[in-house]
């Protein structure tokens, strides 16, 4: 079917119209980013990269998001496996719950989380006494990031596990492997490509989070908050170099991660 589209010599009117419409959407994504890049001079970018407030916040963003991803994967991957194997009661309901963070406003998510962990709740006071400070602390940034990004990991991992033929797990059990060994040697390796892409997605989504983090932890300042603050205090011209720098670094990390992931698959 697609072949006939591609091979069509005569320009088909519908094909042309669809191409034009599609190109408009692509342009809509590329144009603002490109214009922002053109408005920033290399000199400005270099100056911004030397500001310790900026570099500190970029590192903070990268690492808190990574921490949130790693910590929450410990529960998300097992949950994804149970969902994929239909071993969860009310599976549709659970799948729906997992998707809630994607559809609610992230400022509202922040408010909800704050209500749970602020100092005057029992959870907040216990964790404060244990030295974990959610409000205005790293832990707060991480739970805000995790709340909005964990659906990406669960969904990707669930699809990955679902694509592993049940027969392989049955065969492994029949060969005398314990359920844990079956999971570690058969299910996990075969779903790994999807899980890895889920981890990368979760990390990326966490880094780009603004609303929920803003509510729980304005300080220490992650880069999205820093960009917002500079825009509010000094205007577009001062916010732009930080934004461009952050985007460049994010893209570099993603490309690197994808390349590493692909290479490991090939090995």
């Amino acid at each position: 079917m697609t072949g006939t589209f591609i091979k069509a010599r005569r320009a088909e009117p519908m094909h042309l119209i669809f191409t034009a419409l599609g190109a408009a959407v692509l342009l809509f994504i590329i144009a603002p980013l490109a214009s922002m890049f053109f408005h920033v001079t290399p000199g400005e970018l270099a100056d911004t990269a030397r500001e310790s407030e900026v570099t500190g916040s970029i590192w903070l963003t990268l690492l808190t998001s990574m921490g949130a991803t790693v910590i929450f994967s410990a529960g998300s991957i097992p949950l994804a496996y149970l969902l994929a194997r239909g071993k969860v009661p009310f599976r549709d309901l659970v799948n729906g719950i997992i998707d809630i963070p994607v559809v609610i406003p992230h400022s509202a998510a922040g408010i909800a989380l704050l209500g749970l962990v602020s100092g005057n709740t029992w959870l907040g006071s216990i964790s404060d006494r244990a030295g974990i400070h959610f409000v205005g602390g790293y832990a707060g940034i991480m739970i805000a990031m995790a709340f909005v990004s964990v659906p990406f990991l669960v969904n990707a991992a669930r699809d990955g596990f679902a694509s592993v033929p049940v027969e392989l797990e049955k065969a492994a059990l029949n060969l005398g492997a314990s359920p844990v060994r079956v999971f570690l040697t058969v299910s996990l390796p075969l779903a790994w490509r999807s899980i890895l892409s889920g981890l990368i997605l979760m990390w990326a989504r966490g880094m780009s989070e603004f609303g929920a983090v803003l509510v729980i932890a304005y300080h220490p300042m992650i880069t999205p908050v820093l960009i917002y603050e500079r825009f509010g205090a000094f205007g577009l011209k001062y916010a732009r170099p930080v934004a461009v720098l952050f985007i460049i670094i994010c893209l570099l990390f993603f490309v690197a991660m994808r390349v590493i992931a692909r290479r490991r698959e090939d090995a």
């Binding site: 049955k170 492994a172 390796p189």
Partner: protein, 353 residues
């Protein structure tokens, strides 16, 4: 060695009903049934992958009904082999050995020994996706045998193979069985069942409706499914002999009391012969044309069947022919008549044993 008593399981709309049978040590037992009759469910219940609702499974005198899957000494080879796609053939075969407390050298020896026995030594470093159907089947067998199971379950092991490979795997399965491995083999193909089984269990709608030798199953079918097989009544066990006739190569099938010409390119030896009733021509007088296989006999029974009438003839052996409805009127054949029957050598279907 394996005894199944009253096994029942409900799975959605499907149910296994009160399954009972037993398999002797070293036996080749075939479960025969159309698809959807519950053969695979039964196998998975025996291995413990599916837990039964009722009934017992006794292996070598021990009740294993509630035994963990990992502890049962029943290996299964799935229809699509279920080789681990991310492991080499060697790792696939060694998978079952990994939990055991045995040295790496011993494991390696065992894998090499199995690979040699299955004729797959050259494939050990390959990935499963690069294997042909027959190769994958051999690897799956080696992997299942690594655990020294008491009994091995095969789910449609020949169905996805081409004819040539099928014959080779069949030879391999017979050899394994001769070496003492008890085999329970599931198939929907009665020719496969007849040529391999010592006994056949016929399954229909989640129940086992008949367990018997291939001869008895085909001569006295207790189910529509088996009775529906073509030419089932003309089913003989005998042997092929080769000779020369008028300067031509010639094969003959010998069975108790008679012999007839066949077209078969198989080596001499034990086999089954099947002749469709529709392929047997009847005539009240000696036919003028020369036929390789001509017999004279007396009609002992005539009955109506779906495609016409079935005429049973007592000849050198008992043979039943199926003819068009009009035959009786046209020829005056009735019970007690003397008739001549003939069939082409090419109409005889030979199944290797």
């Amino acid at each position: 060695m394996l005894e199944v008593i009253g096994l029942s399981k409900k799975l959605g709309d499907f149910r296994l009903n009160d399954i009972s049978f037993d398999v002797a040590s070293g036996e080749y037992f075939v479960l025969l049934g159309a698809s959807g009759t519950g053969k695979t469910v039964l196998l998975e219940t025996l291995t413990g992958i599916i837990t039964s609702d009722r009934g017992r499974i006794i292996l070598e005198g021990a009740d294993i009904t509630d035994e963990k899957i990992q502890k049962r000494k029943i290996a299964i080879v799935f229809q699509d082999q279920a080789l681990f796609p991310h492991m080499t053939v060697r790792k696939n075969i060694a998978y079952g050995l990994s939990d055991r407390r045995i040295s790496r050298a011993r494991k390696n020896d065992r894998v090499n020994e199995l690979a040699r026995s299955m004729g797959i030594e050259s494939l050990l470093d390959r990935m499963p996706s690069t294997l042909s159907g027959g190769e994958a089947q051999r690897v799956a067998l080696a992997r299942a045998l690594a655990l020294d199971p008491e009994c091995i379950l095969l789910d449609e092991p020949l169905s996805s193979l081409d004819n040539n490979t099928r014959r080779k795997i069949r030879v391999l399965l017979r050899r394994l069985n001769r070496e003492g491995i008890t085999i329970i083999h599931v198939t929907h193909d009665y020719e496969e069942a007849v040529s391999l089984a010592e006994r056949i269990g016929v399954m229909e709608k989640g129940s086992i409706i008949q367990v018997d030798t291939p001869e008895n199953i085909l001569h006295h079918p207790r189910s529509e499914f088996v009775a529906g097989f073509v030419g089932i009544k003309n089913f003989f066990r005998g042997k092929i002999v080769r000779g020369r006739n008028n300067g031509r190569d010639h094969s003959e099938f010998l069975t108790g009391g008679t012999r007839f010409s066949v077209k078969a390119d198989i080596p001499e030896g034990e086999c089954f012969a099947l002749i469709r009733g529709e392929d047997i021509a009847l005539s009240p007088v000696r036919p003028s044309s020369l036929s390789d296989n001509l017999m004279r006999g007396v009609v002992s029974d005539i009955s109506k069947v779906r495609s016409g009438i079935e005429v049973v003839i007592e000849s050198e052996v008992e043979i039943s022919a199926v003819a068009a409805d009009g035959l009786q009127k046209k020829t005056g054949i009735e019970i007690g008549s003397e008739v001549y029957l003939s069939f082409e050598p090419g109409a005889v279907r030979i199944l290797e044993v």
